[in-house]
Symmetry: C3
């Protein structure tokens, strides 16, 4: 059920979207133990990154910033979260994305805070 929302530059999205999608999903499968078919990702590519995404000066001129917003149930320990971050950074690093360009904010909710269509 974790919902993944990704803000990233349109050029990066165009060239690497499948690899980025897989990198994040694989990290969730391994660190959180979610089923492989529990994928729920929304990508939001943007133009004009220098105006759209405003971080501190350290990131000026770095076009590959990725913000990965995770919404997930309040059930994972701090250790599991740290492992999730580590695996996301590792997997994205393997496809050429600098871990220092990756930003992950997490927001938690409860099991009752999800509706995915009709009960199956």
């Amino acid at each position: 059920m974790p919902l993944v929302q990704v803000d990233l530059d349109r050029a990066l999205f165009a060239s690497r979207r499948d690899a980025i999608s897989a990198a994040i999903h694989q990290a969730q499968i391994e660190a959180l133990g979610i089923p492989a078919n529990d994928k729920f990702q929304v990508f939001r590519p943007y133009d004009d990154g220098a105006n759209r995404v405003r971080f501190n000066q350290r990131f000026a001129g770095r076009p590959n910033q990725i913000v990965i917003h995770l919404t997930m149930v309040r059930r994972y320990s701090v250790a599991v979260k740290m492992d999730l971050y580590r695996q996301i950074l590792l997997n994205l690093g393997r496809i050429g994305i600098d871990p220092n360009d990756v930003h992950i904010p997490v927001v938690e909710n409860g099991f009752e805070d999800w509706c995915a269509g009709l009960p199956s």
Copy 2:
């Protein structure tokens, strides 16, 4: 005060936006008891849905996926939330949207976590 943020395909947005807006709002009025004038919706239509929204294979080739993000005060019981989901699915079903294409994540906050202009 609930904030509604909707990700959906641009074609669906173009053809059904008023009906979708009303369907969600009416469900909130009935299930949550919010005042009719307490509407606060942000729509985010996207192009190229097959790349932008990546769910599991069950949703492949279904262009009418809607993700309805709700941010609302931590005050509603599980039963009220279930009723809200049911009414959203019902209302959207009436305008031809398959309930299985509707995804609703909820995030909660407190009364103090809202600022709507100056105190009136």
Copy 3:
């Protein structure tokens, strides 16, 4: 670490983005005491505001609505939050934005809910 996500009309974004960015950031520095280099803002300009952002009738025909989504650690008192809102409204007012057009929802998380690249 607070993450700022701003929905606003593309025309307003084009004409005032730097001033809006600075107005929000300065309010966070003063009210929350965050370091000046802790800036983390994502802007989402939209076209066709009358369809994209649907608030109650009070806001009809007002093109300068701004929704400022704040994600921040659960550590600030109600008084600090009220001061933050006040300073954001004040700073935006100074650059010509009506405080009644500003909407701020806040979502909180924990210190462990952030990953910003590799540990430095």
